[in-house]
Point group: C2
Chain length 358, copies 2
């Protein structure tokens, strides 16, 4: 067993890729707290927060505190009409995200939404048309990869060929329910779209990234409410499997059953099997270690068993790349089709699971 | 985080449950090395090895060395005709196991076979009829539970209610291929029955055990040869999912892709999600720890995160229970129907996967 010095992360933590004022963003609709991370990471990569639209006073102030340049505006239209805004970041209630995004694109700005980007295939199709018509980006923050250093390090290891060809990706996404601290929309199926549409879109995106697939077929999809009868529209458990065009497969489980005694919100894992090795990401906690460790990557290949703690070593390179993509009209951070396909497959899994349940 | 002193294993290591000569067994057909463990554990629990039938000299001698009382015989009939033999343990080529077992039962002896117990549903049906007619036991060694202390400890924790109601079981069974050290039948689909029939029968059995289900519906099954074109009948990858009668589900992946650098034959895992906690069994290795540790059980529930190393603390209580079941005509070790159902579901998964592949 080696400790894996050969595999030390080489990606540098995020540095600004543009000058102050060169890439102005606006932040709107902080219905999900994910927006704070999305904006913070864009700012760390060089963006300037110009405007904030959010009716809730506390949330608005929290956003304004991120950048002294930020001004609060009292209508979303004010952001759409601001000529200096290049990109609008938002984390609205999921079923409203597409409609907001269409307005952003039609105002000739790029959009950066929290996942899930859509709650129906119809929304996806409508947005596809608007992207084609406007040439603007409908970017998605799949945070369980692009804001997780273990997940990004796994991508790097795969790209370096350390486990050969990827054959399978298992993604486990347990979450803490915190039932008394959730907004009403959290328990409304139409609003959040279903557990596969919402949570599992992360795992679909990781599958496409790690296996290099452009498309896949869903082979199983299931949702259930197993232990929360007081919230009948909550899906507290979901799972799917799929097989990609290159024969690599995926299995995903998402749930709201994180136990009370876990030291963080969820024991998110990714287990990747290759022809010549395997990788396990213990993304948010390495269970029962005396000190709390996140971003643990375990690599086993022909050279031995390697443990790497990558917190602070990888950074979140997605955000700098997204800014450059917007400025340069490139697709290096993530292609539009990749984001759409991740959403499409998770929506299709949700549709299949919903039909089976009725 | 607590180290879990409340959850110390209480099952004692195996002790003899009968006097020498009280429960005489025979060992035959050591085509798979599993037979040595099966016999050794029966002997540790009190059995006496009376007879050995195995044409291969080295294998026969290895069996004879387990008990000075053992005599080698030169025909299987000699075992069937020996009046003092109570049970015949065997690990024949898989597609021959049912036929051998039928002869054993019809000779009015109990049978204890390595898994997989059958390679076709027709064999299972034939054996069901013989069990009914003879009243004898067709017992199966699902070694990844009954010879694994972590797996047995997980069962104990579940029975104690430490994670509430079990909602899901994920079983991962990667194995080292060792392609140059396998007999011909290993690469012959008719002989070994397929990867789901063979390897995955362990995970089906564990699912039934941990969830308490009597039956389940298979929702996905897939086999493939992903990276071994020189052995076209080898299935190097298999996966299935199923849903039990009580809505608990299972996902299983089995494969022959253990990397060369792993310190043991496979990183077998079981991840169990309950309404009030989760259990992870790292059965054969806890990756990249500086000392080699097997039988690690991680328990997370409302009381915290607990790590338990249970090697030497749990034993293999199945074997003593099996002897008592044979002597007393009980079914405390494992019911006949449970063993049959585990086999039936893995065979059905294999059939579904085979059909999808053609």
């Amino acid at each position: 067993m080696q400790q894996g010095h050969d595999y030390a992360p080489v990606m540098a933590p995020t540095k600004p890729v543009c000058e102050p004022g060169e890439f102005v963003i606006a932040a709107a609709f902080a219905d999900h707290g994910h927006l704070f991370g999305m904006v913070s990471n864009l700012l760390a990569a060089g963006a300037t927060l110009g405007y904030v639209y959010e009716p809730d006073e506390a949330k608005a102030n929290k956003l304004l505190a991120l950048d002294p340049a930020a001004k609060r505006v009292d209508s979303f239209d004010a952001i759409l009409q601001a000529p200096d805004v290049h990109l609008v970041a938002a984390a609205a209630i999921p079923n409203l995200r597409a409609g907001i995004g269409i307005r952003v694109l039609q105002a000739d700005k790029d959009y950066f939404t929290d996942k899930c980007p859509f709650t129906s295939l119809e929304q996806l199709e409508a947005v596809r048309q608007v992207v084609l018509a406007t040439g603007r980006k409908y970017a998605v923050c799949f945070s369980e990869r692009v804001q997780n250093e273990a997940a990004e390090h796994a991508r790097f290891l795969i790209e370096q060929g350390t486990i050969g060809r990827v054959l399978q990706v298992i993604g486990l996404g347990p979450h803490r329910l915190s039932v008394n601290h959730r907004p009403d929309w959290f328990f409304n199926k139409v609003a959040y779209g279903g557990i596969l549409c919402d949570l599992a879109s992360h795992q679909v995106e990781q599958f496409l990234t790690y296996t290099g697939n452009q498309d896949a077929v869903i082979t199983m999809a299931r949702v259930a409410n197993l232990a929360n009868p007081a919230h009948p529209e909550l899906e507290d458990f979901g799972e799917y499997s799929l097989v990609g065009d290159n024969a690599a497969s995926a299995y995903c489980r998402v749930d709201w059953f994180t136990p009370g005694g876990l030291r963080t919100w969820g024991d998110g894992r990714t287990l990747i099997t290759g022809t010549h090795g395997m990788i396990e990401c213990r993304k948010y906690v390495d269970l029962a270690r005396s000190s709390f460790v996140d971003n643990t990557v375990l690599l086993v290949n022909d050279t031995g068993e390697h443990r790497q703690s990558v917190t602070g070593k990888v950074g979140f390179p997605f955000f700098a790349a997204l800014i450059l993509d917007c400025l340069n009209h490139t697709e290096l951070a993530m292609t539009q089709e990749h984001a759409f396909k991740a959403a499409e497959l998770s929506l299709m899994a949700q549709v299949i699971a919903d039909r089976a349940r009725v």
